[in-house]
């Protein structure tokens, strides 16, 4: 399998893992709210729904742990070069992730088996909210790792040395000589086609470099302090939560349409959850602006892709929200190519290759992705507009109660639509995020071919991974179906 295929396989793994992430994160936020309302209102139906949600979370967590392991091994086994990052830039978030994972795993068991076990129901709710905090913390840490690959904070002007259009990524917290030596060796290897750069992550090379230059990274917290990471964490957690919330709302809407005799009850639950989703969507709309701003500042090629700027020119939406001027002229690929051609360091070479040549070639490679990324982004924005409209309609059902009386089925249909629109939006958003940073894996610094395993990825590997994911997904949904149909007796849920 070639590099393209390996990238696609990794994307498939991440997308399938994200299904369980959306359930674990989105459902846990919903569970916290629903259990809270159930306790406050002393409402049996809320509590029953909360128990159902907790059951689904447990199953999804198990599958999520399995696919998460797959993604984790995908990183260290298929993209071996990432190990360099785990030993440096990602060390702290991944170590803290172990704490988050332990909190999640231990409290999830506690959460499930202590329903109705405490005289004071708020004790159980405290377990729920702590578990939810653990799940969100876990999501935040993993997002920070991805964010460093999007905007390599702490590298100062290093990227700008190669790509003159690049910004400065914060204060210089890395050892420039060390990093450039690694890059030099990787480029040399690529030019001479002597194999994967991952094979250079060995004791001989790294010990020689540390003996010569000392440590690679001076601040182990760097990936958690980047403004790009902070914005991304909020954006990603909101997106994931929205998906989970609307999956529950959609399931309730489906039941509300199917079971006429229980429609009132389903409507009440649906409206509560859909309201949460709607509010989060509106917040996400505001936050999306911040995320866009980060892309504009730290990823010039990605911004030009999503704005469709083959040539510099206005991009009204961003011009209005960032500068208050719809005619503001943003820099397009023509500018990025031009400054690469007129490189300020034309004599500088990396691995024997002039940086001007590297900058120009990579900018052109990024330019090739423009039509795809622009299309994905526009579809995503279109769906976001539709979902915002639906959110306002759902909110209106709380304001104009008389108008909606007798028209509840319409709300259910909107809920069903959001069941599909919410994950489509999140999936497209993630695709824009990931494809938009190409041709690099670490923006402006490392390419996928420098990080990939030297081992051939054969059909047996592909079948194992896809087969494992599909089998797991099938078993998960079968189990969720069975368990919701006949919940365990200890939950005392009665008829469902």
């Amino acid at each position: 399998m070639d590099l393209r295929g390996i990238l696609d396989l990794s994307a498939l793994g991440i997308y399938m893992h994200s299904i369980t992430v959306a359930i674990v994160i989105g459902f846990s936020v919903t569970l916290t709210i629903i259990e809270f309302l159930g306790i406050v209102k002393r409402d049996h139906n809320y509590m029953k729904l909360a128990k159902q949600i907790s059951l689904v979370i447990v199953i999804a967590f198990v599958y999520g742990a399995a696919t998460g392991t797959l993604v984790e091994f995908g990183l260290v086994q298929v993209w071996n070069g990432v190990i360099l990052g785990i030993g440096s830039f990602f060390f702290t978030p991944l170590f803290l992730e172990l704490v988050a994972f332990t909190i999640e795993a231990t409290l999830l068991v506690a959460l499930l088996y202590t329903w109705d076990k405490f005289k004071n129901p708020w004790i159980h709710w405290m377990i729920t909210i702590t578990y939810t905090a653990g799940a969100l913390f876990s999501g935040a840490l993993i997002t920070s790792v991805n964010s460093w690959m999007q905007a390599p904070w702490g590298t100062g002007e290093i990227v700008k040395t190669i790509y003159p259009w690049a910004p400065v990524y914060g204060p210089l917290l890395v050892n420039t000589d060390f990093l450039l030596s690694v890059k030099e060796a990787l480029v040399s290897m690529k030019v001479s086609s002597t194999g994967s750069g991952a094979t250079l992550i060995n004791p001989t090379v790294l010990n020689t470099l540390t003996n010569s230059y000392d440590e690679l990274l001076k601040d182990v917290w760097v990936s958690l302090t980047s403004p790009y990471a902070l914005t991304s964490i909020i954006h990603q957690l909101l997106a994931t939560t929205i998906v989970g919330v609307y999956w529950i709302a959609g399931a309730l809407a489906y039941n509300g349409l199917r079971k006429k005799e229980k429609r009132e009850n389903y409507l009440r639950l649906f409206k509560t959850i859909a309201l949460v989703g709607s509010i989060l969507l509106i917040v996400q709309g505001v936050e999306g602006h911040e995320q866009g701003l980060m892309v504009y500042i730290y990823q010039p090629t990605k911004f030009a892709m999503i704005a469709g700027l083959e040539k510099s020119g206005p991009y009204p939406a961003a011009g209005l929200t960032i500068f208050g001027d719809i005619n503001y002229v943003f820099k397009g690929f023509d500018y990025l190519i031009q400054v690469s051609e007129n490189h300020p360091n034309p004599d500088l070479k990396i691995g024997g290759v002039p940086v001007k040549e590297i900058a120009l070639a990579d900018t052109l490679k990024a330019f090739e992705k423009l039509p795809l990324v622009k299309t994905l982004y526009e579809v995503k924005i279109g769906l976001a507009a539709v979902s915002l409209l639906i959110s306002l309609i759902i909110i209106s059902s709380f304001v104009f109660k008389k108008f909606w009386r007798g028209r509840e089925k319409i709300l259910f249909y909107f809920g069903l639509a959001m069941f599909f629109i919410a994950p489509a939006m999140a999936g497209l958003g993630w695709a824009v995020r990931e494809i938009g940073r190409k041709p690099w894996t670490v923006y402006g610094l490392l390419y996928p071919e420098e990080l990939v395993t030297p081992n051939p990825i054969g059909i047996e590997v592909v079948l194992t991974i896809i087969g494992g994911l599909l089998l797991g997904l099938l078993m998960t949904f079968t189990t969720i179906y069975l368990v919701l149909k006949k919940p365990p007796r200890f939950l005392k849920m009665g008829e469902v």
Partner: protein, 370 residues
Amino acid sequence: MDVTLPLTILGLILLIHLTFVNINIGLGFYSVILRWRSLSDIEAAKPARKVFKFLVATEVVSGVYGTMITVVLAGFWPTLVNIATIILFIPLLVSITGIIVRLTSIAAYWYTWDKVDAKIHLAIGLVMAFSGLAIPAGFRYIFAFIDNPAGLTSLNPISGNTIEALMNPVYPPLLLHTFFGALSIGFLAASAGLAWSSKIDKTVERWSGCAGLLGGLMIIPQGLTGFWFWSVLSFYSPYLFASLNKPFLPLQNSLMDVSYFFLGMVLLSIVILVFGIAHYYQPYRRWTAYILVPLSIAALIFGEIAHDIGRLPYMVIVGEAGVPVEIFINRLIFIEPTLIISTVSAILFFTAIFITLLYLYLIKGILEEL
């Protein structure tokens, strides 16, 4: 960087992980054995379910700690992990597949109980039990590799023969030794759990005795494969062999002496065999079952310490010497000991909470349920 803290943390996490993993593998098999027996003897159905609930409750810990080992290894010894993932690509893939199938089949086995035909459920159980073996089947290659780095041809750039790595002569006895050990510990854990349960429900008493017997008898093949492993080490990992036998083979060169742990493991194994058989004949003496669990865990810990400490000061043994631990240690960053200690403390704190909950869940919720 001083390697004491990283080694201590790796050792601690590895021992917790291996203890739970071994218990879980054995519990899975015993649950399926009882499930199979329940097709003809309805009395076996209840203990089969209890044993499996025990597994479900503890699987989380082994999984979480397994993930921790990956992060600790890649964080502290990134180059070693890179070498292993390149040379042991195929075995690690086997483990990953095993993890996916294991976790999902546990969920399926749990939730399809009494919801599908008994034979179909048994088939799901077999998938669950055997997939548990697939995980160490892959990961034990790493241990075999650091005992004898078969397949590695160059360190810079890393290159090797992934097929030759599969032929590592240290691997087969190590794996079989692991399998029988896991079955032994798991069966003995089931025996203790069912012994506690028999305080209220006498019908499970005999199944506690059977588990004790099986767990005890597993010591025999474990001992035989252990002897095989020991003799293979003399050829392919002489430094480790010398560490294991230092007082008896003073001419061999080793800086470590782990013979006391090695002998301790052997002696504990003999005691386990005797007590296991005794419990089968007198299952009403519950204390024998209770004592078998800490004994078997102690034997496991002694064995792992002998195997892993015996390798020091090397991380990878090459003949009568090796590549020191310091060569692989992460020097890319300065790792603050306070960050590591506080992180590990938090992990251990939540693990303690979990074990307390597990105790309440198992003892009060399952084992004593009527």
